[in-house]
Amino acid sequence: MLNRVMEWFRRMLGTPSSSSVAKERLRLVLLSDHLALAPDVIEAMRRDIFDVISRYVEVDEAHSDVSFEHKEQGIAMLANIPILSLRAREPDLGISEESPPKEETSVLETVSVNGHKTDNYGRRPRKRRRRKASGASQTAPAQ
């Protein structure tokens, strides 16, 4: 009985109702369940990520890891991909001559793709756009 009074107080104070808490928890847990049940989809995602990144840098696939992690507000995909070296630049990549050469880094961290509708974890990795050599096109790495 007292528990229900507490629930009423919580509602009056504007804290989320237990049903809305339940809905949000379910949304995340079902997303997580579906991901766990779709190893082929995850594998396809991994392949696509490696393919994209490999156009810019040479990666160590054998020691790479793509996983999903529960964060407070959603589920994030984490990609931990060791970079071995840069690839030779190709003109049609549309990389601006002015952009500073990348330092060699050992690991490209936290390419986050959010399972949430609103993006809390940074930009999605941009699709590579082919541009004419005259146009500048940013290839800023996703954060």
Binding site: R4, E7, W8, R11, S17, S18, S19, S20, A22, K23, R25, L26, R27, V29, L30, D33, H34, L37
Partner: protein, 264 residues
């Protein structure tokens, strides 16, 4: 003339599959359809109990499959419904692996040749018993309560049904409008949203239902039971009639008035 073969399933145990199968079957039978109910819960049978025919079982599903009796011999007719309602009981002392999916599908197909509806009461879970139950079906009814565990399991089951290409519709069971109103329970809309499912029926929570299942009396036969009308509506929707759902728990004076009507 082939019957519609519908499996009633849920994933989660205890959400009302057997009660739904029994009462929906009874409602269809009262409308003049010939209905056979199949208990797929080998080892833990309960459909017979809920219908009150447990003392009249002679043969069961496993004995049919093993050829120790004819299918017709195993059917227990519920005399309250004339020739319209019969049940094929499960075996109580065997395991679900006693029957293969092919054998189960075979039995269901044979039944479908002699009635209008075959309703299959699935066991809980997603293992062998569940796979048997859906093997014979062409459509599914998923029963779910507005609680997190039930919804999670229903989601899993819906995934399995989709893998098999079985169309499904949802019955949300044990809704407590007063708790939905206060935000203590998820609403029917919430459940349908989360599961992306088409709604077939809404059944409010009623503790007196336990008494009717204890006594083996289908709700449609007990005029004191308001829920009987709800199962009749569900039966009519199943038949293709468009019957609007009453908004439960809309709140306020009119909300309470609508709830008093308790339509499903």
């Amino acid at each position: 003339m082939t019957a519609r073969r519908i499996v009633v399933t849920s994933g989660k145990g205890g959400v009302g599959k057997t009660t739904t199968t029994a009462n929906l079957g009874a409602a269809l039978a009262l409308r003049g359809k010939r209905v056979v109910l199949v208990d797929a819960d080998i080892g833990l049978r309960n459909l017979d109990l809920v219908l009150g025919v447990e003392k009249r079982i002679v043969f069961d599903l496993v004995e049919v499959v093993e050829g120790r009796c004819q299918l017709r011999q195993a059917l227990v007719r519920d005399k309250r419904f004339g020739e319209s309602l019969a049940i094929l009981p499960a075996a109580q002392t065997r395991e679900k692996t006693a029957v293969t999916e092919l054998q189960f599908a075979d039995v269901v197909n044979n039944l479908a040749a002699m009635c209008d509806y075959v309703l299959i009461d699935s066991p809980a879970g997603i293992e062998h018993g569940f796979r048997n139950a859906i093997a014979g079906a062409a459509e599914a009814i998923v029963v779910c309560t507005p609680e997190v565990s039930a919804i999670r399991d229903a989601d899993r089951v819906i995934g399995k049904l989709q893998e098999r290409g079985l169309p499904m519709r949802l019955i949300v069971n044990r809704v407590r409008p007063e708790m939905v109103r206060t935000g203590e329970m998820m609403s029917v809309e919430d459940v349908c949203d989360i599961l992306s499912a088409e709604l077939l029926g809404i059944v409010p929570d009623d503790p007196e239902v336990i008494d009717t299942t204890n006594r083996g009396v289908p709700l449609v036969l007990d005029p004191a039971q308001r829920l009987g009308a709800i199962y009749t509506k569900i039966a009519r929707r199943l038949e293709g009639e468009i019957i609007p759902f009453t908004q439960l728990g809309t709140g306020g004076f009119f909300g309470r008035l609508f709830e008093a009507l308790r339509a499903g």
